[in-house]
Point group: D2
Chain length 342, copies 4
């Protein structure tokens, strides 16, 4: 096997992060997030989010972030609205329902949620006899690689505030989103337009870790108890703090996303030049080219990637994912091999 384009977590951590882990390894610090690294990283993130009221917490992974955030906010009879492509609906083994809450799904072709879709769910509400929609879950970039532009996020935010819905943005792929060539959003926008979001570390070059940012002060009460109860509070919280410090001390978080996006978009450009079309148009580190099944078979001999879905009897869309560690030579080799098969 030459290269792995299956996902953005095939390698360890970015060298700069590794250096930070090495540098601070022997420093003595308190546990459970009370270390100076976690405090500094939280302060740094808060600064970039530009919301005085925000609070920052670190956890190990995305599903853990999603289930803890949602379960900490919703009352037993409240539900969350999400796209039918959303990670919480498709790939978390019912983690949200396991905390007692329904996900009300909306059909989404591009992975995004729009106010009109939410309204359709709100229309289904009947007093006492149905769950009460209380939260909207979105992801940026989405599970299919698309991103929200500013107007879309602002519209969602305004709609949610008007309807008293909590807006929660899953940023497991935020590095790729904010580094996209078409991105219009900043961390400060997320601090302003969402009630809560998280910044993915795992897909942005850390060994593990997501930074939860709760902007709405009403949602911060006793959040640490929820984290502890869900097994999401690491004894050596420093491991998360050090890594996020490395990500946000300089521009690493954005550089990592830019490289990943560039690699994917280089592949996309070449694939398009070869005359192939795509399931969706993306500007991030996930691309979904449609290729003849025969060519896919050939590529599979040398490369790891997922077949996303069959498009017709002779062709399928595949998913190619790049990361901070994708070498340009791997991309070139893939393109070259693909040219050879066409």
């Amino acid at each position: 096997m030459k290269y792995n384009f299956r996902n953005d977590y095939t390698t360890g951590c970015h060298p700069d992060i590794l250096q930070a882990l090495i540098k601070y390894n022997m420093d003595e610090e308190d546990g459970y997030g009370d270390d100076r690294f976690s405090k500094s990283a939280a302060a740094l993130i808060k600064e970039k989010v530009q919301n005085e009221q925000s609070a920052v917490y670190f956890v190990s992974g995305g599903t853990q972030a999603n289930l803890t955030i949602i379960a900490s906010i919703l009352k037993p009879f409240e539900s969350v609205i999400a796209a039918d492509t959303s990670h919480i609906y498709v790939h978390e083994t019912g983690a949200i329902e396991a905390t007692g809450h329904r996900i009300q799904t909306i059909v989404s072709s591009d992975g995004k949620v729009k106010p009109a879709d939410i309204q359709l769910q709100l229309n289904k509400f009947e007093e006492v006899h149905t769950t009460m929609p209380r939260m909207v879950y979105i992801s940026n970039s989405t599970e299919v690689g698309t991103i929200y532009n500013r107007a879309e996020l602002v519209a969602l935010s305004e709609f949610c505030r008007q309807k008293e819905l909590i807006l929660f943005l899953d940023g497991a792929r935020l590095s790729a989103a904010l580094a996209s060539s078409e991105n219009e959003l900043t961390l400060a926008d997320l601090g302003k337009y969402t009630d809560v979001f998280y910044i993915g570390g795992t897909k942005a070059g850390t060994l593990l870790g997501e930074a939860i940012v709760i902007n709405n002060p009403k949602l911060q009460d006793n959040f640490l108890y929820h984290l502890k109860q869900r097994g999401a509070l690491l004894a050596k919280g420093r491991v998360l703090g050090i890594q996020f410090l490395a990500l946000f001390s300089g521009n690493l978080f954005f550089d990592v996303g830019r490289h990943a996006n560039n690699m994917a978009q280089k592949m996309a450009f070449s694939i398009a030049n070869l005359g192939f079309s795509f399931l969706a148009s993306t500007t991030t580190n996930q691309i979904f080219p449609i290729l003849p099944d025969k060519i896919i078979e050939e590529l599979q001999k040398d490369y790891l990637f997922y077949i996303w879905r069959s498009v017709n009897e002779q062709a399928s869309a595949i998913r190619l994912v790049t990361s901070w560690s994708t070498d340009e030579s791997a991309v070139d080799e893939f393109i070259n091999d693909l040219k050879g098969y066409t």
Copy 2:
């Protein structure tokens, strides 16, 4: 502040583990535990456990291990019996009850559970109207630093099998237990006498991670689904695999425990020589000397440690914990300072 004796997770990871993380950082591997490191580490542990039927899984932390194991095994109306000193009862913010299960506590002065205590709980059972006890939770070393000898573990194991109770051993502190000068147990004994146990990495020099070993095949069914649903399955599972590989390729797991124990026992010996008594007699890395409150105040100026509980109007028991990273000079300095105050 000179030194921190609060717990065994004040520093990062053992240098050998750090070397392994550095060495394998750029290797491409599959996610969610399907990497070659996790597979090798699991195979290695299984070899030491000497039970062909055992299955090994890695998770981030102890509470996560406890809640996932217990919730995966118990039916909704079943309960777990544990000591009133147990971590699941005292320090996990109700994580077990949050999964729907009662902990039936037994009074324990030494942190251990005995068959007679379990029987008292079984006697409370009334058909339909009470929960049904189905599991016994023990920890080794216990939360108060004591360890189980072979006869105790065998007796518990036999009693549990006779009563159709699952025996679960929390090994967050297993490194200290197995390295104790009085230890009689091996990993193979745990593979034979328990249904499920876990091997703590966090307190044994890893950045994070616990290795769950399920010996009873009936309890292994779909365990990965439980892990995923609880947010306990890391995308970069390799991070756990690499570290446990480092712990168990040689003797690191035991060396780490031995050093921690030696440091604590050196302090205990000196404190005893100064004429002070202890709340309990331990042979691991936690000691509980009883000191005059005035001396404690002095020590607190230079050292971090917990005051465990008041013993009388002028004296309290404190808890001193050491780890793989405790330098002997820190121990000597503490002893020297204490001598100065007496």
Copy 3:
């Protein structure tokens, strides 16, 4: 207000049931279902179900039956497949999710579930990362008044057994279903083709109560513990036993359904004769005529009923429901008034 066609629980209990409650009121019996009435009623139902392995339990209401049955059977990571019109999805305030389980919905125009719909859900399964479908929930009559014929039930049953799915039939409206002029099914069929079902009392003339019949012996283990834990075990279980004894000692259960159906179908016949169409064709006690909004407004002055949904700018479908206590004169008066408005 002249009459109430909103639902089938507008009055108390059928006179025969009331007589039984009066007759046995002062008899001393044990509690929690251990009374002779509950035992006799269970034996009687088992006889009619004609399955030696079946076990019968009584609970207060439908949601309670649904949530207890489903939560007692599914493991934490397992889900239930149901129509998007199903009571558990539409009208139980997230009761199933509150027990930790996802409902995977299929789009259904007639309230029924077909094997092909189930297969579509099964196709979405991905190991470890999705919930595992384990149960299929159907209702008869459905929430939109339709019924399953024998071929449909047999096909579902065979499909489920082949796919190792539990088939659960919600019989809250079973009285109407089995008394329908087009019904082909018997209680014995339900005993044969489902794993578990329940017989609705509330909509069949009792003050309250549903009889759960678990045919699959594997699903009976400790079911009483689940009932007790969910608050579903009445101290005076006799209240349920006496009423079901009255329903099944003779033909009352079927007579009640027949009368309700006759009343609804008489209305349907007359409404059709007036030239109006229906949202769906039903043969039970629920009909969904489409009427001009102006006429609906007139009718609302004298009758209680739900407007089901708007059909076009000038017309809506309404739902009319009848029961054992619907007087034919009420039906006649409604028809007469409707004629007057057309």
Copy 4:
């Protein structure tokens, strides 16, 4: 078997309640508690509770009331403090833990909870790492037949308000408590000194039903959603409304308690006169005489009752319970038979 002294739910309902059920049986009313009976009964109870802010809800049974109230109030990481004799701890099959919450028990010899006991539990609190005690559960009369006097309730109430704890009184046996010869409390006191309580119908002569009274307005928000989600909202809510209307239109609720108490106390008086002692001194409808095991064996031939616990090698305490339907002749016969055996 002559008579049943096992519990206070051996018969159906009080004749006055039965008359009310008969009288209103055919009246058409809306479902789910929106009937005029439930509304009138709620208004009547509110009047007696004398708290303008109170809200009243009806449910089927005690466990259902307990679990819904507790789960609706506590956040996931909060716990409830209760006596180790409490119904929620001893006889509800872990129903409270099944909603995710820990019960922190205090040792109680008389079934009551005192402020000092609560304080001991509060002392165990450690930020983030333990559950947060938020509620105190008491019962009146208690599970061992004792009652709270005014000073005790006021002290508890003041203590709880000072500590920001919710005070919840389980009144499954409230009829007996308020009718006790030593009772000092009124429904208005419960409206003033508790945050929430419920009035037991099942043990006070109804077929089923408990009336939940939430005095604290902050705890009323969306309570109906919780009821519906837990399967606690009866379609024919009228059944509960009619019965509570009968209980509280006149003095029936108190008369029922007085008769039950009188019968038990008559037995107690005679048993004491025969020279026997009691496990505890009670003034309600439960008595716990200590009798020689040989006499108990004789009595068991003719009477049903529970052996509470062994007192020494030759004697045990038994529990005798009376109700509104206990005939004085049964009491006389029991006493007479007992005399014969001594």
